[in-house]
Amino acid sequence: MARVRVLVATKKGGFILTADAGRGDWDITGPLFEGCEVLHMQASPANPDRLYASVWTPWYGNVIQRSHDGGRSWTALPSQFEYAPPVEEYTGLSGQRVPWQIRKTWALTVTPLPDGTERILAGVEDAALFESRDDGATWTELSGLRHHSTHSLWEPGAGGLCLHTILPDPADPDRLYVAISAAGFFGSNDGGQTWQPLHKGLRLDWMPDPNPPAGYCVHRVAMHPDRPHVLFQQNHCGVYRSDDRGETWHNITEGLPSDFGFPIVVHAHEPDTVYVVPMIDGERHYPPGGSLRVYRSRDGGGTWEPLGRGLPDRHCYVNVLRQAMAVDRLDPCGIYMGTTGGQLYGSFDAGDSWEVIAGHLPRVLAIEVQTLED
């Protein structure tokens, strides 16, 4: 009998929600790490009860926590992230030069390696990628990314200079992608040692040069594991699709009420079915007309349809952050969405209708979903 476990990272701790395959009756555990911000929770694909959480407070900084029992108990790891030299400066929000500093871990990804071990990747703010091959005990920066020749063009978005998306190619352990706001989307074909910017076809609406080598505000990128050469991107300036591993992008925003939004996810069983949550624009992060709608495309971005059954029709001013949407692997596919207002919505018919799973959580920062087989 399959089960679903939803890992919800929030401003005030982590929550774990579980349900059987019917997804009608949810058990909620939490808050974990009370009083702390949890930026992301992630699971090992090889051992689903091995979980990782990025926990942060303004006082004590960032601590990675690990559980070996599905989240019942946790151990803090001595996760000292240190940049590989040289450590220089970047241009801050106000144009001033700012020294690079490890602040928070935004994203954790666990990938199996051919030798049977696992590799954990951590995306941090200020933007850098770290790897651990010893279950989180030690971390090494994959510094080819931060030392990329375009790094002088990287600038923070409003959320900071954060590496928020890590996408390993399931068909090729040496290929992976990362997204950084606001640096752009980068791909590596050698396991993360060297990187190529993948920006052809994207645009930077607000800059004098709309097509610089880097500096793009990529909000989120998604792929279907069975078709990893096709990528979908929600950018600050539109929704894009690439059919060639990010080499070129074309705009698929037409049919959406706005080019702005944060998350983008792909249906678990239909590689051409994509979901986004448009927000009105980059200054007003709320749904157009105060009406929360998920938009679905079933033809890879050619056409879009609004999905609103069960979602608020008016006076809704929440946002859905970039990591706060995920899918399960059941059939029909479940879609999960957490809001800045603390609502966790679920759709158990691939988006046709939605219901509130939890209505009063803290601000939801990130969601991951595990589909578990007993």
């Binding site: 005030k12 790490f33 009083g35 407070t57 303004p58 006082w59 004590y60 001595p78 450590v87 500093q101």
Partner: protein
């Protein structure tokens, strides 16, 4: 060696393997000098590296390894009894009353309300 009693903030006890708010650590007394707040954190690191990571951070822009330098995290304050060690940071010398157990070294999370 001095036995220094350290009082940890509540949050840090929950985040780490500390069994309670009071932790006793052994700190070496340098010849002709007194141990520093940084020495106390080094001793805490031997007990649980997470404690040290949570109390100090690398100075931004500094290169690590041999030239590594840390600083107290911005929202952490440290007291020896009622004496505020925070302004001098990790180089602050412990008063003798902390070296013979009369007063603890106390780490406090700065009061910083107002956010969500």
């Amino acid at each position: 060696m001095a036995q220094v009693v350290v009082v940890l903030p509540w949050h840090l006890v929950r985040l780490t393997r500390a069994s309670g708010r009071e932790v006793c650590v052994e700190v070496e007394i340098p010849a002709g000098s007194r141990p520093t707040l940084g020495d106390v954190i080094d001793a805490l690191a031997e007990r649980d590296p997470v404690l040290a990571t949570a109390l100090r951070e690398p100075v931004p822009g500094e290169r690590p390894l041999d030239g590594r330098r840390f600083r107290l995290r911005p929202y952490i304050r440290a007291f020896a009894g009622s004496v505020d060690l925070t302004p001098a940071g990790l180089t602050a010398h412990l008063p003798s009353k902390c070296l013979d157990g009369r007063e603890p070294v106390r780490f406090v999370g700065a009061i910083a309300g107002g956010t969500e």
